[in-house]
């Protein structure tokens, strides 16, 4: 018959458009991640060149390839995608792992540099560029003051992503780190205000004084509003986790949802979203980590780190790609002067501001620190994204974009690569992160307790006064509302682990694992004989156990959150929470092997626990007659 040819059942079909978007996203992510793996093949490279530079370079190469085959880059690095999807994980990471104690000790300095410093930079650079524009030779006379100021705002924003990745590797001293870190995070408020103010103003022919006034008011709204929203969401998140004991699988979700919500709501009202998410993370972390289970806690930290790592990788990568593929407008004079002024004003700014704030600081910044701060003011992707969001009615938009890219590349590459040798050369105070000796660990704590005691003694609170007030308020009211009450389950687990630890230490002394329940007196006497001759052999594992015991059981001064850790490492979970020890010390006391005459009331739940308990009792034989005369080996 004459019907059209019957087509057979297609065995193999392809429908690319359907999956195109998720597919390409995944491929790009994989590509960027492979690049990251690739860098570590040669560890020397990552030592000298910060990862951000490497990623940008790879991006440049890929961009070049794409340009040569006339392929357009994925419309990924639009400013919307950047601000809504790529930036929040990074800022969440910064906020979540912010070392709170140094932060709050330096909060005045941080805000000072963030607010006044950014203002100084923006206005300074804007004005000087406007002055340059007047010179006919450069051919940029059409850029008026408002546009210059707008541009200056964009490029004076010090970028957390770029700075952190560089500063981390260099491990400068804590004060410097926290000030630059904090500055990056909090200058967002100023940048947002100035940006919206100036972009609003460029559309207006004339600027009135009342607008200036409104600008200041806007700043307060933006800054305080951001903080307020963040804290609000933080508390709500903490409160929610109080009830999630039955749904532990989705506990981590709440953290992310609430912080993201804080970010989005802040964006909705055009207030500082970065501050919102940072404050949310700061507030919520403290309570959430006590409420959720240990596993959820680990998951949260893992995921936060992972998301931020991938975001950062993608950002730098696309920075490289888009550099090649975007439309440029080049103007030697303008661009070079932009670079020059950016440097000069930052340097001047740091100098002047430090002079003013140093008298108020306990540990003043010396010139080397100031150099570190000035030189570490890297610009990064935030400036880039802001440049892209410039309204199109600005005639010279492409020039601005080009200039921004030049500055970013310059700071990231030149300053990023050279900052490490320079800092080592001028010998900025570094931090000593390794507490690898027991003596240092003990004496750090000893020192802290001494200081707390002396402070109490002489009644000088200085800036701990407000903290103490807050802690009291916290203990009485906040903790009751936001924390879960039922901790019975976790205390047993903690107890189990503690006994295991003791067991491990006991093994070193009793090679034969003698677990006969000898009376304690005998072993003590033996101990006394050899007391001044510490000649035992300490295995690395035992030393580690001791560090664990020290870190878990020494009295803590103040609630310690995660201290200054490396950016790319997951924080060490060895810090046991004081609250567990304090609340259940009574149970422990009853289980002390010293009281084995009066047997414990607690029945072991299973055979394993029974074994541990039993062996725990035998601890008293420790050190009796097994003195070994060898050198110690230290764990490193």
């Amino acid at each position: 018959a004459g019907e059209s040819e019957k087509s057979n059942l297609p065995v193999f079909t392809m429908n690319y458009p359907r999956i195109q978007i998720p597919f390409e996203i995944t491929l790009w992510m994989l590509l960027a991640s492979f690049a990251k793996i690739g860098f570590h093949v040669y560890p020397k490279i990552t030592f000298w060149v910060p990862e951000s530079c490497l990623l940008v370079s790879i991006g440049l190469i890929v961009g070049g390839i794409m340009y040569s085959v006339n392929e357009k880059p994925p419309a990924v690095l639009t400013s919307n995608v950047f601000f809504l999807y790529m930036l929040p994980p990074i800022v969440l990471d910064s906020g979540y792992f912010m070392p709170t104690r140094p932060f709050f000790e330096n909060v005045g300095t941080v805000l000072w540099f963030a607010v006044v410093g950014t203002l100084w930079n923006s206005i300074g650079i804007g004005m000087s560029l406007f002055a340059i524009c007047q010179i006919e030779a450069f051919g940029v006379q059409d850029i008026n003051l408002q546009e210059n100021l707008l541009f200056a705002t964009i490029i004076s924003a010090v970028d957390p992503v770029a700075v952190l990745s560089v500063f981390e590797d260099v491990s400068v001293n804590e004060q410097l780190y926290i000030v630059v870190f904090g500055e990056c995070l909090f200058n967002d408020a100023v940048t947002v205000v100035l940006y919206s103010m100036f972009s609003f103003v460029t559309e207006m022919p004339v600027v009135e004084p009342v607008d200036m006034f409104l600008g200041v008011a806007t700043f307060l709204v933006v800054g305080l509003g951001g903080m307020g929203f963040g804290i609000l969401f933080g508390f709500v998140a903490a409160f929610t986790t109080r009830f999630t004991s039955k749904v532990q699988e989705i506990e981590p979700l709440f953290i992310f949802m609430y912080s993201y919500l804080a970010y989005l709501v802040a964006e909705l009202f055009a207030i500082s979203s970065i501050m919102a998410i940072v404050c949310c993370a700061l507030t919520m972390k403290y309570y959430v980590e006590e409420n959720v289970s240990q596993r959820s806690c680990t998951t949260i930290r893992h995921v936060v780190k992972m998301l931020s790592a991938i975001s950062e990788t993608l950002i730098f990568f696309f920075l490289g790609v888009v550099t090649i593929t975007t439309e440029h407008e080049w103007n030697w004079g303008y661009i070079l002067f932009t670079l020059l002024f950016a440097f000069i004003w930052r340097g001047l700014g740091i100098l002047v501001l430090t002079q003013i704030i140093n008298p108020f600081r306990t540990i003043p910044f010396n010139t080397k620190d100031q150099f570190g701060m000035a030189y570490g003011g890297l610009r990064g992707a935030i400036s880039f994204a802001l440049a892209f969001t410039l309204p199109d009615n600005i005639a010279r938009k492409h020039l601005f974009v080009t200039a921004t890219i030049v500055i970013i590349l310059f700071t990231v590459f030149l300053q990023g690569i050279s900052i490490r040798p320079l800092i080592e050369f001028i010998n900025v105070r570094r931090t000593n992160r390794k507490t690898d000796t027991i003596n240092i660990e003990i004496h750090t704590r000893l020192m802290e307790h001494t200081m707390a005691g002396i402070e109490d003694l002489c009644g000088q609170w200085s800036h701990y006064y407000w903290k103490d007030k807050f802690m009291k308020f916290n203990n009485r009211i906040l903790r009751r509302i936001l924390l879960r009450d039922n901790r019975a389950e976790s205390s047993i687990v903690a107890l189990y682990k503690k006994l295991e630890l003791q067991n491990a230490i006991e093994i070193l002394d009793t090679a034969s694992g003698d677990i006969s329940a000898a009376p304690s007196i005998i072993s003590l006497q033996e101990e006394k004989k050899n007391s001044t001759k510490p000649k035992k052999k300490f295995l690395a594992a035992d030393l580690k156990n001791m560090h664990d015991i020290l870190s878990k059981n020494m009295y803590k001064i103040r609630e310690r959150t995660v201290s200054y850790t490396s950016k790319h490492a997951l924080p060490n979970d060895n810090q046991r929470r004081e609250i567990l020890i304090r609340r259940h010390s009574s149970i422990r006391r009853s289980l002390r092997p010293g009281s084995f005459q009066t047997r414990v009331s607690m029945k072991p739940n299973n055979a394993q626990e029974a074994g541990i308990l039993h062996r725990g009792r035998g601890m008293l034989k420790a050190g009796s007659d097994k003195v070994k005369k060898v050198q110690a080996e230290f764990c490193k």
């Binding site: 004496h443 000893l446 200081m451 005691g453 009644g459 059981n553 050198q631």
Partner: protein, 215 residues
């Protein structure tokens, strides 16, 4: 205290010089001293023991003892006092001044040594210039939350710590040798990595303050 504050700082310039405090700071500390001593001229151990905030400090006794320790008076005497005057109180406090911007490297070094000396004296209770195992153990036991950790563990830790000191400072000690105790030089050496500059100081208040009741 309704009357005009005692201008002890201005009256005694020698205090300013010996301790390095400003007259304002001395005045504030004097007010505190009077509060602690009950308006008398000397402070005894009971006065310090009564401070409520200090009760929760694990090394309370060591801290209090430090005030009555003659060695912290920058003299070469050894032993302890029964009561201390304001001047002696100030001398002990002067160990905790923060470093200032104008200090030279040697001054900073000297300050660090002074603070380390303070810590050393806290350990060395019998004043023989060495920290023995017993003395060290005592401090470690105080630091570990008492009641929640075994005495055995404290012993182990102290032994490990002493071994660290011994092997760092006397590397060629044979297995039969007897490590007497930590001297101050060894103490300094082992704590080289300890970051003290940013932590071991107090921001003494410069301005006049109003104390409302006992704190």
């Amino acid at each position: 205290m309704g009357a005009a504050p005692t201008r002890i700082g201005q009256q005694d310039p020698e205090l300013v010089e010996r301790t390095g405090f400003s007259p304002e700071q001395i005045n504030n500390l004097h007010k505190r001293f009077l509060q602690l001593s009950g308006n008398k001229d000397t402070i005894s151990r009971e006065n310090l023991n009564d401070i409520p905030a200090l009760a929760y400090n694990p090394i309370k006794s060591q801290i209090i003892e430090a005030f009555f320790d003659k060695r912290n008076q920058h003299d070469s005497e050894v032993g302890s006092l029964e009561e201390i005057t304001f001047q002696q109180f100030l001398m002990v406090m002067s160990h905790f001044r923060p470093p200032t911007l104008e200090m030279t490297a040697e001054e900073k070094e000297a300050m660090r040594k002074e603070k380390l000396r303070f810590l050393f004296n806290m350990h060395d209770t019998d004043g023989d210039g060495k920290i023995t195992l017993e003395e060290y153990r005592k401090v470690v036991e105080e630091l570990l939350s008492s009641g929640s950790i075994e005495q055995e563990s404290a012993k182990e830790i102290t032994d490990a710590a002493m071994l660290e000191v011994a092997s760092t400072n006397v590397p060629h000690m044979g297995p039969e040798d007897f490590y007497e105790g930590i001297t101050f030089e060894h103490f300094e050496q082992i704590l080289k990595g300890l970051e003290m500059e940013s932590r071991m100081h107090i921001r003494f208040l410069d301005t006049a303050t109003v104390h409302c009741g006992k704190s």
